[in-house]
Amino acid sequence: MVTRSFPGRYDSLAQIGEFIRGITDKAGLNNFAAYTVEMAVDEACSNIIEHAYGAEDQGPITCTCKVNTKGLTIILEDRGRPFDPELVSEPDVTGELEDRPSHGLGLFFIRQWMDEVEFEFESGNGNRLTLYKKRTTASTKSTRQK
């Protein structure tokens, strides 16, 4: 288990990405699985800064990673406002160009690309987002090949 805290700023995103790539490497995820984790975490952290904190420099993002034989768990914690993801509807990803929303893809990517996604809010403790990515056969194989 590794925990690291980052300032809630957009220029932390590149460092968070690097940190996550280190973890996905160690977990032996294949290139594409690693990319989906990096992207899901990036989307979640952007949302924390933009929506939970409402601006940059309002608080930290804490990132805890656990690797086991079955997969990789990443927990993101912030002290911003609570959020009920159930209220967010799926974006239109099939309509004509003019009907396409330019917002609302972040959560969609997180849900599509992670195997489990859980949002929790405890007053006093803030928000906790748990992302879980299973090892696929392919990724296990690519680990063995190393």
Binding site: V93, L97, E98, L105
Partner: protein
């Protein structure tokens, strides 16, 4: 992120390298806006050396495509999309919205 912009006779080529996330995407959007504010709506985005693109980057793409395609005056085309980014564009349903080229020459030559 590193952006290079070259203006050709019939189109503009934007090459983006590195990482597009919420921190850097505004620069890409600004590059596109400068081009379209200039009355130029035929743009090719070269992505071969792009490592990462979040939904903030997708936002810049879709907004620019809307501006470019309006009144049939042009379009944004995508060039040399890396595999992982292609998968993201695909999941977001962007593939039918953009012409895609393997190399810049065919992209620039198509305008």
């Amino acid at each position: 992120m590193e952006i290079t912009h070259t203006q050709y006779k019939h189109c503009d080529l934007v090459k983006v390298k590195g990482r597009i996330d919420s921190y850097t995407a505004p620069q890409l959007a600004e590059t596109f806006n400068k081009i379209t504010d200039d009355g130029r709506f035929k743009i090719a985005l070269e992505m071969s050396e792009l490592d990462f693109m979040s939904s903030a980057g997708l936002r810049a793409l879709i907004n620019t495509q809307k501006v470019c395609k309006r009144y049939n005056r042009g379009e944004l085309v995508l060039v040399a999309i890396p595999g992982n980014i292609h998968a993201a564009l695909d999941l977001a349903g962007f593939i039918p919205l953009f012409k895609i080229f393997d190399d810049v020459l065919s992209a620039v030559g198509n305008f």
